[in-house]
C-alpha cells in the first residue's frame, strides 16, 4: 500500500507549514526587545501597561548589542529598550527607528555587592573593601561592550584603585552573568547593577552604592522601530513608560529616572 505513506508525507508537510506560518503571538501583543537589567522591572511595567490599555507586552531579554545586530537584520520587534543609548542612536542614524521616538527612560546605578556571609564590613570600608586580601576575584561586566562594565571600570579609576584591583577582575558577558559569578561564590565581590542587587535572589547580600559622579551616566533608552507592526501600541507603551506610574516602578527597581526633556537636550 503506497497511499498511506504518501498521505502521511503530505500531511506532515501541511502540518509543518501550518506550524511555520502560525502568527507569532496575538496581534494584541507589543513585542519588546529589552536589556537584561530590566528583567524584574518589566514584569511590573508590563502589568501596569496591560491594566491601562488591555494590551500585553511580549518581552525578549538579551544583550543590547545582540538586539542591535538582530534588528538590523529584520528581527520582528516593536520597541527596543537598550541598556546603552548608543544602540538606539545607531538605529536612528541608520533609519531603522521611528524618528523622534528615542526616549531615555532611566539611568543605571551601580553597587559593590558581596555575598551575605562575607566578613568584610562593606558599609564602613566602601571602596577599600575591594582591596581586602580575601577578595581574590571581582566580577564586572565586560567593559568592551557591556555598559555596566564600562561604568565599573570608570568608577574604579576615579576611586584610584583600578591598577590595584585590575588583576582580580573577571568579566561577565553581561551584567547578569557578572552577578552570577559572585552569587555562586566564584568571585568574592562584584560591581553590579543596583537593579540586580535588589532583585529577590540577591537582595540578602551586602551592597554599597557607588556615587553616580564617579562614572559616566549609564543611559538607558527606548526607541520604536520602523518595522514595528503595531506602531500605535508601541507609542502607547512609550507614553506609559513616561508616566509617573512607570517612573515610580523603575525607581523602585533600582534605576534613577531622568527629568523629562533635560537629558535628551543634554545628550543631543
Amino acid at each position: 500500500m503506497r497511499f498511506p505513506l504518501r498521505f502521511l508525507i503530505l500531511l506532515s508537510i501541511l502540518l509543518s507549514a501550518l506550524l511555520a506560518f502560525r502568527p507569532a503571538g496575538a496581534a494584541q501583543e507589543i513585542r519588546v526587545a529589552a536589556a537584561a537589567d530590566l528583567k524584574f522591572a518589566l514584569d511590573e511595567l508590563g502589568a501596569g501597561y496591560e491594566k491601562q490599555t488591555g494590551k500585553k507586552i511580549d518581552v525578549s531579554y538579551g544583550s543590547s548589542g545582540n538586539f542591535l545586530a538582530q534588528i538590523q537584520n529584520g528581527a520582528p520587534f516593536d520597541v527596543f529598550l537598550s541598556a546603552d543609548i548608543e544602540y538606539p542612536r545607531k538605529l536612528e542614524a541608520a533609519g531603522l527607528a521611528e524618528p523622534g521616538t528615542l526616549y531615555e527612560y532611566a539611568l543605571g546605578r551601580i553597587v559593590i555587592w558581596m555575598p551575605a556571609d562575607t566578613r568584610i564590613d562593606l558599609a564602613k570600608l566602601d571602596w577599600k573593601a575591594l582591596l581586602d586580601p580575601s577578595i581574590q576575584k571581582i566580577a564586572i561586566g565586560n567593559p568592551e561592550h557591556a555598559p555596566y562594565g564600562r561604568a565599573a571600570v570608570a568608577a574604579l579609576r576615579s576611586a584610584g584603585i583600578y591598577e590595584q584591583v585590575r588583576a582580580k577582575l573577571v568579566y561577565g558577558e553581561n551584567i547578569a552573568q557578572a552577578a552570577q559569578f559572585v552569587a555562586s561564590g566564584n568571585a568574592q565581590a562584584g560591581i553590579l547593577a543596583l537593579s540586580l542587587a535588589i532583585s529577590p535572589p540577591m537582595r540578602e547580600g551586602k551592597r554599597w552604592e557607588i556615587p553616580a559622579n564617579t562614572h559616566p551616566p549609564i543611559e538607558q533608552a527606548a526607541v520604536i522601530l520602523k518595522s514595528a507592526k503595531d506602531k500605535d501600541g508601541a507609542r502607547a507603551f512609550l507614553t506609559f513608560l513616561k508616566s509617573a506610574e512607570a517612573r515610580k516602578i523603575l525607581e523602585s527597581y533600582g534605576f534613577s529616572v531622568p527629568v523629562p526633556g533635560r537629558t535628551s537636550a543634554q545628550t543631543q
Partner: protein, 228 residues
Amino acid sequence: MNIEALLLSIRLALCVSAILFVIGVPLGYWLAYSRWRGKFLLEAIVALPLVLPPTVLGFYMLVAMGPRGALGKLWYAAFGHGLAFTFAGLVIASVLYSLPFAVQPLVASFETVDRKLLDASAVLGAGSMRTFSRIILPLSVPGIITALVLSFAHTLGEFGVVLMVGGNLAGVTRTVSIDIYDRAQSLDYAGASRTALLLLVISFVVLSTVYGVNRRAGRRAWAQWPLK
C-alpha cells in the same frame, strides 16, 4: 585578529584531547566489552553533554567549582584559590563537555573488532592486556584518530561552557570563540569575521586531514577483510 586567543584555544584543545585519550581508552574499552547489566546507565551519563545545553553544563560546572561545590572545595584545599576563571578550570570543564566526542568513536571501533580474533588471541595464550595492545588497538586506529580529532575540534569551537566558567581573561580564559563573540558584541563585525574565517580554515584543514587519513586506514582494514 587575536593570535593570543587562537593559541590559547589550540593549547586548551591539545590538553583536552590528551586527557580525553587517557580517560577515553580504558572507559571505551570497558563500555565496549563489559557485560555489566547497569552499563547503559554509564553510557547515558557519557552521552549527556551531547544533549545538555553548554550553558547549563557550564552553569553546573561554575557551581561545582565554587567554594560550596565539591570540586571547588577540593581545589581550594589543594591550591588555595578557586578553579573558575583559571586555565585548569577550563580544561576540566572542557574534558566533561567533549567526553562523548572521544568515548563514542572509541566504543564504536572497539565493538567492531571481530570477536573471533579476540578468541584466537586468547586461545594462543595472550592475556587481555596483550590482546588489547596487539589486536584491538591496532585495528581501532581510525576510531582513535576520530576520537582525538573530534575532541580537539569540539574543544576548539567550544563557547558556552567557556563563557560560563571562564571570566574572559586575556591569555588565560579568553578563547578564540569568546574573542569572536566579544568583537561581534562590540559591533566589530569585520574583526569577528576575520578571526572566524581563520578558525573555519583551521577546522576544515584538521577535519579533512582526518577524513583523508581515515579513508586510507579504512582501506587497509578492508584489505584484511577475507582474513576474518
